[in-house]
Assembly symmetry: C2
Homo-oligomer: 442 residues x 2
């Protein structure tokens, strides 16, 4: 995919400056020291899940592949690095021909993960790999946080459709990525047209309170909406008095009215009353959509309410209390010299404290019990035990610099459903707890 | 500023799809009903501050102005809206010549705000104003959340410089906007090169643990870094043993060593020990930078430590517990007919519950006591009392569709310092509390 294919509303000619300055200064110093070409293995992983969460959801892999492909240096970028003396001339020359030429393996999008899971493994020269740290982490940390919240909300919704409508609560492009991650996590549609444009996610939306207030009466507003959008539209019924609005709505649209939306008040109570009223008016097929500050707990508490769809905004795009993951990108192995045949040695930060990590190039597999239910995330650096070979989690994403694992977003969405189904049932509990399966190092 | 001036690394040819679908369907229905042209006033405001916060910080105004200017419909966007049947043909025709032609007044960037403050007031036809809702809220909600966190951290840092380094913890473009908002809120620099490129924010960065681990010894790594980046560089001293690293660092770079960075452990304790050691080694001018999971509370707790600069990541870009604001964009007044001379009438949602709002086109002023310290945020819809005329907060940003209030980012940064200085001292308390001044409606 080249830059043009990235499409509107944002064309990203290069992702090369979505990078912390120290990546560049490290490349400069390593080039001078003759160590930049040492074959290296970096891994992205998280030391822990957000507090109380039972599992993580891998989001953003497709976006990472786009970012790696578009990580290159045109005259504008090089000019900036030169004019601001970020790096020296030899480094600029090296950057000018930069293309990632290494290999990337990773958990496929939609898969679940646990503490220590080697979600992405990036191999190549030190210099080509270290430069990708920031943009890879930005994407994985953001998109995985949103996908995890979406997954919990989907479980809470128990099959009722979820509409992503959080664009206004987050950065305008974060919103597009959030719609994408929400779709992977089980949402059905989005209000965000940019997400529809960029990723083909189904878009929905009819009207806001402003539309009712624009008109001389609620009746005028409803009539205007039905005249233009048809009887199948969704009318917003809580601008003034809900019962009166529902009566007016069915009077104007008839029992073919598509849906009513409730955006305030005690949703459980109001939904019951509105359902009863709609049924009494013969609008038995008219659906009820609720959309007021919902999170997974509010959604679960509405399980007994006659609600047909949920619209979720703020809590989705802010990861329901955990707007980022704590994924890090660490050098875990590197060659002893710049010789391409030099053996790899494991490396890891040794300083005391919570930030130490496990060195070595890792594999991961999910061990299941006799019923096919996951019982452990197994991570190792040596040979993969025979019984786990078929249970391995990392797949090849980039081979010699070429992306080899493009897939439609629906594939990631389906994978997430399968991955969740293979977890212990307690994964679906919203209450705080430990990861549903332990991580074992072998 | 046209699209080309928006610069790298993201060119935004149009912001028109950063929009919820219902904005478009409302325009379609209003066009058909003959109400789309009614002169309207929308206001962006928040009903409350995040729990416990004493004040809000207006972030993103400059980005809003860019977004309004670039909100237009090219063939690609119109084709998408057509192909997906988002709107009908008359609406597509209307959109094809869309340019916002109205007026926008607002709080200038860096100003503080309180519950009810009319942060942005957008006036024009209903259709041209309603379309801007989503993108305006995306920008204000995101950027103001980050600016508020930055402001608290700046207060906690008490004049010591703060480095924004959260790019890896948030969406890659959210990161760029976060650097910008952090700068407005008092940060000095950023690690994010895209923010340096796009907004001219000073960038910094030298090396990570990976650089030390790449080399055969810490000594080799330090020597490679100093050889390339000079003695004034910042060496990361916590990969193995801190005391040994500091000794090696000064041995290699001499007392001219710019700084050492500590990224783990008990920062208070380690900073004291490192300072003593540096002083004993004669490196009395070598600075200490700390960077481990800092927030405003951690920064404040290090006030007594010999720390020269703080690097802040996760907590900055996630708004320190409040990653979004609750700003809404509401129709508060509209004409009784499409006649441009028709008088405006106040409108507001009337349904019971927390979501009701105050109708009418508002002014705002900050009343001060005899010492020049703010004592109330005064908001009204009628004539401005004579004593408050000079204290008004809204400034003209867009006049007849033309942006009239561009300013350098440093102006917003300076304004924030002035605005904070005019608040009661308790604004600087990090503990939870009520807004430092009350909002009065007159």
């Amino acid at each position: 995919m080249n830059a043009a294919d990235l499409g509107l509303p944002v064309d990203v000619p290069s992702t090369a400056l979505f990078t912390d300055q120290y990546e560049f200064t490290m490349v400069q110093a390593a080039l001078k020291a003759g160590t930049a070409g040492r074959r290296s293995v970096f891994e992205a992983f998280t030391r822990r899940l957000p507090e109380g969460r039972r599992y993580g959801v891998v989001g953003g892999i497709g976006r990472v592949l786009d970012a790696v492909e578009n990580f290159r240096f045109d005259a504008g970028v090089l000019g900036f690095l030169h004019d601001h003396s970020i790096v020296d001339e030899p480094t600029l020359r090296w950057l000018s021909s930069y293309r990632f030429s290494g290999d990337i393996w990773g958990y496929p999008e939609g898969e679940v993960y646990f503490p220590g899971s080697p979600i992405l493994r990036v191999e190549g020269s030190f210099a080509e790999c270290v430069l990708l740290e920031t943009v890879i982490l930005s994407i994985l940390n953001h998109d995985s946080a949103i996908a995890a919240a979406a997954s919990r909300m989907s479980t809470a919704a128990g099959g009722r459709p979820l509409i992503e409508m959080g664009a206004r609560r987050t950065h305008e492009l974060s919103a597009v990525a959030s719609s994408r991650a929400a779709y992977v996590g089980g949402f059905s549609s989005t209000s965000d047209l940019a997400a529809g444009f960029r990723y083909g996610i189904p878009t929905v939306g009819t009207s806001a309170h402003a539309f009712t207030l624009l008109h001389d009466s609620e009746r005028d507003a409803f009539r205007a909406q039905v005249d233009s959008l048809g009887r199948g539209t969704t009318l917003l019924v809580d601008t003034y008095d809900v019962a009166e609005a529902v009566r007016t709505a069915v009077e104007i649209a008839g029992p073919e009215l598509g849906a009513v939306r409730i955006d305030s008040g005690d949703l459980l109570l109001v939904a019951h009353r509105v359902r009863q009223q709609l049924d009494d008016l013969g609008a038995t097929a008219t659906k009820i959509v609720v959309t007021s500050d919902l999170d997974e707990y509010a959604i679960a508490s509405l399980a007994a309410a006659p609600v047909d769809a949920y619209g979720v905004g703020t809590q989705l795009v802010t990861g329901s209390g955990h707007p980022t993951c704590s994924m890090v990108y660490k050098l875990v192995a590197r060659a002893q010299s710049a010789d391409p045949k030099a053996p790899l040695i494991s490396v890891a930060k040794k300083s005391l404290g919570a930030k130490s990590s496990v060195g070595g190039r890792k594999w991961a597999a999910r061990r299941s019990d006799a019923y096919g239910i996951a019982e452990a995330e197994v991570i190792g650096t040596g040979a993969v035990p025979a019984e786990l070979v078929e249970r391995q989690l990392l797949v090849e994403l980039v081979k010699g610099g070429t992306v080899v694992a493009r897939e439609p977003l629906d594939a990631a969405r389906a994978r997430h459903i399968d991955a969740l189904a293979a977890l212990p049932m307690s994964a679906g509990q919203l209450s705080r707890g430990e990861p549903v399966i332990p991580t074992e190092y072998v």
